[in-house]
Symmetry: C2
Subunit: 124 residues, 2 copies
């Protein structure tokens, strides 16, 4: 995918590679899109949240069940669930005193799978 460039000895970068930089700049998505993408991956970048998402992919669960499953305080889980909810990754429904959480977006597993492919490639 990466295009070879001419063997340039000097890097008067701004001048000589200007063409490449301009071409890349044109093809780059909007600043905001890339920012949003980073924000999404940031949410995935914590093992507690990864575990929560993985668990919810298996089954709808209430807060204290998740806390017990992961051996963490209910408060910590609640805080993380809020992050996940704000990211549009999980949703909740109340049933009496209990609040059940479940996945909002079915692509979560697919994002995980792509990540796992990279990890398995790397460990070769």
């Amino acid at each position: 995918m990466a295009k070879k460039i001419q063997p340039i000895e000097r890097c008067d970068c701004d001048v000589i590679h200007e063409e490449i930089v301009n071409k890349v700049r044109e093809k780059m998505p909007q600043e905001e899109t890339l920012y949003d993408l980073a924000e999404l991956f940031k949410v995935f970048g914590d093992s507690t949240r990864i575990k929560i998402l993985w668990a919810l992919d298996e089954s709808e669960m209430c807060v204290c069940d998740i806390a017990f499953l992961l051996n963490m305080t209910q408060s910590a889980i609640s805080h993380q669930l809020r992050v996940l909810k704000q990211a549009g990754l999980v949703k909740s429904r109340r049933e009496g005193k209990t609040v059940f959480y479940s996945l909002e977006d079915e692509h979560v597993k697919q994002i995980f799978d792509q990540g796992l492919i990279h990890i398995s490639e790397e460990s070769k």
Copy 2:
């Protein structure tokens, strides 16, 4: 980040839902796998790194070109390239004084795409 060793108090909820929790626990991947997955997404969770990866997907580039493209100092870019390299996402080759970076893993774009699907779904 550091996890508590002390056991989490179980609520009545846990007793009732014990079956679900046990079922989910069985199906969860290894602790280490989930940790590695989070570490990978953590690397994607920064807009500077996202931009670098996106740029390198378009074309192999040298450090100061990336710095110019993103309007950042060469030092900052160099630090981030090291993170990306350690994650096995980019590779480098030296040509004289210049060091060219390119993508190491062709799945990067696919991971981005999955993320973008989520973002577009969310903005509906």
